[in-house]
């Protein structure tokens, strides 16, 4: 991902890209898996940056950024993050999570860790309590590290990894099969309002893995 493309992505997600460029971008999106992947990370990070959360430790934010960067093209993500944080002076881009960027950025990035972990588990964003470093640690604890999965210990620290990329795949404890769930949401869509309805209908129209089951609570025989 080049920086101009990242900036284009940033402008597009804000709705600020000129119409002609938006159309070209949308034509490219379905064909370019890397672009879609970058856009997803970019979007989450961008939204997190905008979120004004309460205090989370800066070093935690930095470690999370390092972990997120490990997931994909380093320059892409870092450039993307910095482009989203356009209000920061250019000279600060390399270290944008430092104090100059403020607690809000750090806290926002902390939220990304929660989002990523939960997304890859198939769960969705939990909306209630703003995540704290302590919460993030708890989340990391319940995601088992597997050989080959990426974890991070920035700076060679002996501290335990606080972010572990969990394995993909449906939970064997899924409470419902995807087809049954899809039939439910389809039936529900008649009673949904915008944008819930749009979401439901859209999901029916896209990939088969749209119905994702999260970790179920203890099943009993």
């Amino acid at each position: 991902m080049t920086e101009p493309l990242n900036e284009q992505l940033s402008a597009f997600l804000d709705g600020e890209l000129p119409r002609a460029e938006s159309e070209l971008f949308v034509r490219r999106l379905p064909r370019d898996a890397e672009l879609r992947s970058a856009a997803s990370r970019f979007y989450l990070i961008g939204q997190a940056i905008r979120a004004e959360q309460s205090a989370v430790r800066r070093d935690f934010a930095a470690r999370v950024v390092a972990a997120v960067v490990q997931e994909g093209p380093v320059t892409g993500v870092v450039a993307g993050v910095t482009a989203m944080a356009r209000n920061l002076p250019r000279s600060r881009l390399a270290g944008w999570w430092k104090p100059a960027a403020g607690i809000a950025v750090a806290a926002g990035v902390a939220m990304v860790a929660i989002l990523v972990v939960q997304n890859q588990q198939g769960a969705r964003v939990l909306p209630i309590a703003p995540p704290t470093a302590e919460v993030a640690k708890e989340v990391a604890k319940v995601v088992p590290a597997k050989p080959g999965s990426s974890s991070t210990r920035p700076g060679g620290s002996n501290e335990p990894a606080i972010y572990v990329v969990p394995p993909k795949g449906d939970s064997p404890l899924a409470p419902l099969n995807a087809a049954r769930l899809a039939s439910y949401v389809f039936a529900h869509s008649d009673y949904s309002s915008l944008p819930g309805r749009r979401n439901v209908v859209s999901e029916a129209a896209v990939q088969d893995d749209s119905a994702q089951s999260a970790a179920a609570e203890a099943p009993t025989p």
Partner: protein
Amino acid sequence: MMPLDHRRTLACVIVLAASAAAHAEEPRQLLERMNEALTGRNYVGTFVHFANGRFSTMRILHRVDKGRVIERLVSLDGSGREIVGTSDELTCYLPDQRKVLVEPRKDQGPLLGTLPSFRPELVDYYTVEAAGTSRVLGHDTRMVSVMPKDAYRFGYRLWLDEKTAMPLKTQLCDGDGRVIEQILFAEIAWPDHIPNSAFKPQLSTEGFAWVRTESPLRLSEIGSDSLLWRAIKLPPGFRLSASSTQALEDPSRPVAHLVYSDGLASVSVFIEAREQGQVLRGHASVGSSAAFSTTIDGHQITAVGEVPPQTVELIADSVQQSRRSSGMSPHP
């Protein structure tokens, strides 16, 4: 004849007055105009939908011709899936599964959805505000914010085209303003005429299985007290708004369907006899919709809705089978 300078001044005054009038429009009036735009005019557009960490691009066509509405939603991401909606039925083409689902249309709302009219009591649960202006896709837009006052429901942020009131950008947010889902139009047009050919699926359905869902029967038509299921704990403002019995996948297995709504957000509860095997309990998600399933009295109870996970869990867990149709109480 009025001097040229006076005419120019008058024109400026008229333009400014019109602009001021538009900005003076109440957020709720804007939302009403948005609903009219979504339901009452032709449009063709491509939008990007982001939810659950994934992007998808889709094309929407919507035509109103002599009062009859037809719509087509096409996935541009390679699955070939598409949905065609008429006034009578909704047809979902799933080429990857070689299947076509056909459902009777139970309402006349557009595929893109609308917001219900704001009942006065909704102010107890949502704050509706104008949130400034900005440009989206080269259009002047006005932003309207509909934020929840508690954690049982989501809110919306809508960027409405100044001229048409079409929502060019829509975000589903939690109570802290964090975005759960975003829809952003990349292109949109309002053609006077859209030909019939634009609504024909671009795929061959030869060899596909066609699955038709019959019209749901009302509970009263079933006439059995055993189907009187109700949720007894509901978030404030939610109440039963619809109930029916449907055959979703297997006609021999009727599913009771209850709908609870606060007037804006809605949760469907599905109740069916439990299959043999494990008792299943847990959360799931589809896009930004949450689902929670549990087992009560030998039945599988599943709540689905565009609400936070704790809301579907609260409602599903409180479902009881009773001969009494009343007894619902607000939570807590």
